[in-house]
């Protein structure tokens, strides 16, 4: 890699039209290459591969075969779809607001792609280790909300508008539990940087966070699924109710952009879950190999990472294949009345546990060590696990009693009607 970059830098330095006085540094070149790779490599690939994968998996779940004609296992089907999208005529409805109508899908795609800036693909391969890493993820997600609203509003279609408003209500409802579970992670990791989070998931530091914080993971993952509008949270495009939701009027490449947005978002969610809860590229021998032969270690890390990502992707598709769609009131209730309080309580208990295990003050701050600091990372992991399970248990009790009460009300109402 190194010589090529130097060569590129020299080449650029000698180009007479270069407007800047100094030639771009090697870092800039790497960044540009990496950025182009994400935007034009990962994003379209994600759509092509994932649509094919989804069709195959769903087909298997539904006892079908799925696409099998074009190419081996039908994988050319996806390519054919992509070509069709590119060449299909693109109609804009007469009453649409043209500019926002065209901007909306773009914004959705951009917001999904931007997440990859902080996801490390392999040891040493990360766009940018922002110190606000996971907070950044929440932030760029906001553009997606705006894009959705723009797309739905500008279409001048009732279904689209209704779909957009449903979508926004859903997105904002699930953003809170997601953000709070990310805060929980930040409390445990003591940082929002994704690299630090991965570092803290070394076995010596306590291992993967999915072990320590299953509830946090669950909240995050469910909220993330809702954010990506995946089934069973896909009622903003509920085909049978509002046709296709906010993107009903889109066709051709703009539709492709919406789809890219959705699938890239899905990939990003899987990637984030893998990074935050499954240790990212962590796996046996990665670090040793990386220290010896960086390229091989990086490749192995990439393989592990991809495996974890695919696992999550599979889980999402599995959900889609098996679960029926929520009703909108159930969806919002689930978000606000269950996930939000659960994540808040989980945050508080986790923070408490973390304080118990806090090591003595570092870097000039005189802090007494927590009473259980001696147990180290593994102790923290097990204590967090216990507290998570406890929260889950209490939550299940609360849900049970609430359910019983509401069932009682229903029975009473029924009795009242009959009597």
């Amino acid at each position: 890699m190194e010589p090529i970059i130097t060569w590129l830098a020299n080449l650029l330095a000698n180009v007479s039209w270069w407007p800047w006085p100094a030639p771009p540094s090697a870092a800039i070149i790497i960044w540009v290459v990496y950025g182009l790779f994400i935007a034009f490599g990962i994003a379209p690939l994600a759509m092509i591969v994932l649509t094919w994968l989804e069709r195959k998996i769903i087909a298997r779940i539904q006892d079908r075969i799925g696409p099998n004609m074009a190419g081996p296992f039908g994988w050319l089907q996806a390519v054919a779809d992509a070509i069709k999208m590119l060449t299909k005529e693109d109609t804009t409805p007469a009453g649409a607001d043209r500019i926002p109508f065209n901007l909306g899908p773009g914004l959705i795609a951009v917001s999904a792609v931007l997440v990859f800036a902080v996801i490390p693909l392999a040891p040493g391969i990360i766009g940018s280790d922002l110190n606000i890493g996971i907070f950044y993820v929440v932030a760029v997600g906001s553009f997606g909300v705006l894009g959705t609203l723009m797309a739905g509003w500008s279409s001048n279609n009732k279904y689209a508008l209704l779909g957009a408003f449903r979508a926004v209500a859903q997105l904002v409802s699930y953003e809170i539990p997601m953000a709070i579970s990310l805060i929980t992670v930040a409390v445990v990791a003591g940082s929002m940087s994704t690299l630090t989070i991965i570092h803290n998931q070394a076995v010596a530091n306590g291992g993967w966070y999915i072990v320590a914080m299953p509830i946090t993971f669950l909240v995050f993952f469910l909220a993330g699924m809702a954010e990506t509008n995946r089934s069973p949270f896909d009622l903003l495009e509920a085909d049978s109710e509002i046709v296709a939701g906010f993107h009903v009027e889109y066709s051709g490449m703009k539709y492709a952009m919406v789809m890219i947005g959705e699938y890239v978002h899905m990939l990003a969610l899987a990637g984030l879950s893998a990074t935050i809860f499954l240790g990212g590229w962590r796996g046996p021998f990665v670090e040793q190999l990386y220290n010896a032969v960086p390229i091989l270690g990086g490749l192995l890390g990439l393989v592990y990472f991809l495996a974890k990502v695919l696992l999550f992707i599979f889980v999402m598709m599995w959900f889609r294949g098996t679960l029926p769609r929520f009703r909108i009131d159930q969806l919002l209730d689930f978000g606000w009345k269950f996930l939000t309080p659960l994540s808040l309580f989980n945050l508080l208990t986790s923070a408490f546990v973390v304080k118990l295990f806090q090591p003595a003050g570092t870097a000039g701050v005189a802090l007494p060590a927590g009473p259980l600091a001696g147990f180290g990372g593994l102790g923290l992991t097990s204590a967090l696990l216990i507290s998570n399970l406890l929260v889950a248990f209490i939550a299940s009790l609360a849900v049970r009693s609430l359910a019983r009460r509401s069932r009682g009300n229903v029975l009473k109402a029924v009795a009242g009607v009959e009597g």
Binding site: V32, A43, E89, P93, L130, I132, G190, E249, G252, L344
Partner: protein, 118 residues
């Protein structure tokens, strides 16, 4: 400028290029034959009745409202989370108060029926 954000800028430009390039390419490749019928609003083949801007529920607004409040809460909690390990025990107590007050807000909204989809 913070160096680590340069890549975010580069990626943003690349990401914007994606829809721009995609749409531009498709604009060059695809046919352009608009007609009145194609441009009508799609409602599964039925004629559109009335305005697009149908009666709209306040509930949507209320959800957005509650979201705003909790969003701001989350904003305050992120720096706390990062600084948490470097602060004494009172960090927990103070945030406990903060969160409990907002939990009270949630309970209020719940009790008031603002979280009911009716």
């Amino acid at each position: 400028m913070q160096n680590e954000f340069i890549f975010v800028g580069i990626l943003t430009i690349c990401a914007i290029l994606l829809p721009v390039g995609g749409m531009g390419m498709s604009w060059m490749l695809r046919p352009h034959k608009p007609n009145k019928l194609k441009q009508t609003t799609y409602e599964c083949g039925l004629e559109t009745v009335g305005e697009t801007w149908a009666q709209f529920k306040v509930s949507y607004y209320i959800y957005a409202l509650i979201f705003v409040v909790f969003d701001v809460e989350a904003v305050f909690l992120f720096p706390w989370a990062v600084a948490y390990n470097k602060l004494p025990l009172y960090a927990l107590a103070e945030v406990l108060i903060f969160v409990l007050i907002l939990l009270f807000a949630l309970v209020y909204a719940w009790r008031k029926g603002a979280l009911e989809w009716i």
